[in-house]
Assembly symmetry: C2
């Protein structure tokens, strides 16, 4: 198909996917790298999306009986030392605080030079996750079975010292939500960790229009210190997997390390069973890579800071008042309507810029519906509508009253279209692989950009998984829930269906 216009994003997805990703973020003005290695600045458009994610998820987390709290940013080194496996997983990539002031550096030639001073007796690390800080709290707060279940959530910033970073997907500092719960019964705790994964499935699919595969991680991919790690895996447009959220059944590991005990009804001391689960600003990376096209960001209406943008096209100065008044009328009518149990989010583009290209600004920002209005529309009482789930060429003139009536339904259609398109892509690029040779071919160098998700029967051990993972730069993304059973293509032993893929 011949291109009618230069795409708004260069390079395109097919030309250079990683660069395309960066350009989408830049064109939509969502975030940028800061002067601090690996840390990003989340700009207004990106942060408004995060606020919408927070608002809905926070509501759902509260509705399931969790209270929000705030715990310290710092973890004393001694607390980190308590859970050996956890330490091994996180101590290698954390920010370590060793001093509590800066003072003048008299040995330096640099004007105003400073140096660290006031050495701390014990180093502190910045939370890479908060199990180690919540542990002692839970131990204090829980006395008897009456205090259980204890269900806590926190929205916080997290630091993991990453070597290779990418905006939203992997940054040294990121924002997230982390839930922590303690239970009297193993079965209750296990069920809770799965229920919270369900909450993520519903939110990510229903709000972000990202289809996901829920399942369990293999031992190799488990959270350090967990007995089971459950996850949701999404497929990006380069066919790589993105882990979009995790929920951990921590067994009694942290309860033992931090002495989290309760007195049961017979006043016998018992260890608790704990869970933790989280999603982060990484979700925004997944959102971008699931829906965006070569013209920029595409936002599902439920997660769009602006759902409908009205763009006045003023070609003659004398038309300005009439066009702006018309825009105001449309805005007033639309903002009284509801979509997804909330008022429709409509804005008028009042920027003082030239007419040409005004629409592209909002295409690149991914706004679901654009309404261009000039004198023609004022006279016809119509709007010139562009939908972000269609190409820019498919814009059409619609009678204003008709549009007002249909607006909530159109938003709903766009939301569904994006989900269905992404689901079809995921399904089209998921293949059942029946033999070792086929598997090797599927993930071979020459197929690098074609391979998607490979479903195979697997009964391999951790060592074999490691070997295969390294050789093909892939990993077991998850063992989907209720997986079928069958003969392992590597070991011929009875195994379960798992998904192998390259991943972010």
């Amino acid at each position: 198909m011949a291109k009618q216009y230069k795409t708004a994003i260069q390079p395109t997805r097919s030309e250079d996917y990683p660069k395309w990703y960066q350009q989408v973020i830049k064109s939509a003005d969502m975030a940028e790298n800061s002067q601090v290695r690996g840390c990003m600045v989340i700009k207004p458009w990106g942060f408004a999306i995060w606020e919408l994610i927070q608002k809905e998820l926070d509501k759902q987390i509260k509705e399931t009986g969790h209270d929000n709290i705030y715990c310290p940013l710092f973890i004393p080194q001694s607390l980190m030392e308590k859970e050996a496996e956890h330490v091994a997983g996180f101590a290698k990539e954390c920010a370590v605080i060793t001093h509590h002031k800066l003072e003048e550096d008299t040995n330096s030639d640099r004007k105003g030079a400073l140096k660290p001073a006031g050495k701390l007796e014990e180093a502190l690390i910045i939370r890479p996750t908060s199990e180690a800080i919540m542990g002692p709290l839970f131990s204090n707060w829980i006395q008897s079975y009456r205090d259980l279940p204890l269900k806590i959530n926190q929205w916080a910033n997290i630091v993991r010292w990453e070597m290779r970073t990418r905006l939203f997907l992997r940054t040294s500092e990121f924002l997230w939500q982390e839930g922590h719960t303690a239970h009297a019964d193993k079965s209750e705790a296990l069920a809770h960790s799965k229920n919270m994964l369900d909450t993520y499935v519903n939110f990510v699919q229903d709000y972000m229009a990202i289809p996901v595969i829920p399942g369990e991680k293999s031992e190799n991919e488990r959270f350090p210190g967990a007995d089971h790690t459950y996850c949701i895996e999404a497929m990006m447009q380069d066919k790589k997997a993105l882990q979009a959220g995790t929920s951990h059944f921590l067994g009694q590991n942290f309860a033992k390390a931090f002495n989290i005990k309760y007195l049961d009804k017979n006043t016998q001391e018992q260890l608790c069973w704990t869970t933790s689960w989280g999603v982060s600003t990484r979700l925004i990376g997944g959102l971008i890579m699931t829906h965006s096209d070569d013209d920029g960001l595409v936002l599902p209406p439920k997660i769009a800071p602006t759902q409908i943008i009205i763009i006045p096209i003023i070609q003659k100065e004398q038309d300005q008042d009439q066009i702006l008044a018309y825009a105001k009328t449309i805005s007033n009518k639309l903002s009284k309507l509801e979509y997804n149990n909330d008022k429709i989010k409509v804005k008028i583009d009042t920027r003082d810029t030239k007419t040409a290209g005004k629409g592209w600004h909002w295409v690149k920002k991914g706004v679901p519906i654009r309404l261009e209005i000039g004198m023609k529309e004022v006279e016809q009482e119509s709007v010139f509508m562009g939908r972000r789930d269609k190409t820019n060429k498919e814009r059409e003139s619609v009678n204003l009253d008709d549009f007002i009536t249909q607006a909530p339904e159109i938003l709903s259609q766009i939301q569904n279209n994006l989900y269905n398109k992404a689901l079809k892509f995921q399904e089209d690029n998921t293949h059942v692989i029946n033999s070792k040779d086929e598997f090797i071919n599927y993930f071979s160098e020459k197929n690098k950009n074609n391979a998607g998700f490979a479903k195979i029967f697997w009964a391999g051990d951790s060592k074999l998984e490691d070997e295969i993972s390294k050789k093909y730069s892939i990993s077991i993304r998850c063992i989907p829930f209720n997986s079928k059973k069958g003969k392992c293509i590597f070991t011929d032993k009875e195994g379960v269906e798992v998904i192998f893929a390259r991943a972010y």
Copy 2:
């Protein structure tokens, strides 16, 4: 007046104010100290109050044209070195990151011992405020006058290495909101810094029912790097002042340090004028100390996570169903009503605890209205109402329908009563002082617990202020806006009215 019961909080305010403060927080289960020196854990009841503060302030900040963003937690040492005065103010009390991992400490006998490793080339500090990280961003983002004003806000955690800490009032890590703006005109920037102070005045008075005195800080008390610092000062029940919020006009100081420039309409390069302003979790400390009594926390309805608590009093097992059904009916009716443009926040106390003392739990948590219901109330179709702005002895039986009709109005009365009571206390304890002798007597050791705010005419210099401040452990809290003029009681020169007081 003879006490009819032991107060819920021991010690009382008059016995030991600082300990009373701690006990109020403990009894209401709002927060606690963590294992990390100077850092607090904000528990569900305390955090729910912070969420209500955030929700309303965030709305007001957005309505005045600010966008939320998120900036990195870290400031490279070199950026801190740029604004000399700013450095002098903050470098002495910051958390310094020098390493990026922990590794096994083979020299230690401790099991699993770790030590910092991976030394950073440049130390990072944790933001004690974000001017130094916003500076380079503003410098990049602003090109022309069209980009101005730039109005940004962020909700974040902040670290200042405090030596003496107190829950909410002064903690090494705290939560806050910090606004940062850049303007083309000096007058616009100056006006904006005052407008944002007005936002704080309105919010703190209207929502938190804390009367405040807005004004300007003296040079000694100014924010490091600011040309003017505006503030709101509140009076606590021990008659000490609490700075509840500040807004800084930064002149061109940060614009010079960080090269924040724009091209004006004549394409001439100009320096910007910047402002910054913030309020923090300290507001919760002020809330506690303004309204609480010897029975615990007292919450203004607009900032109460639960505005009405329904407490079923079940004396016989067989009455349970009827009483709980009645509670549910009341709850349903109340939760349909509105107060302050929001649904009334009503809860039923469903805790499985003994009847006695159930009410006290909610007294101590400061819930504005308590409704106790037992069989008597079921039969009479009434509620036994306690109001947190009255004593526990003043509870009364009210016909249910009457209560439902009046509920929003009663909440409104409580909100006003708390504000008026606090205002009267502030006025009663603010004294105009006309001579140096009177001043010395007012702040003398023997009057330590009686002195409140002293209004005096002042024309002293920074040195004299310092001398007086140290001698009497007081400071100039502010020069109220539109202060009267008169002869300084220390220097006889023409001066303006200022407020001296002891302060948190």
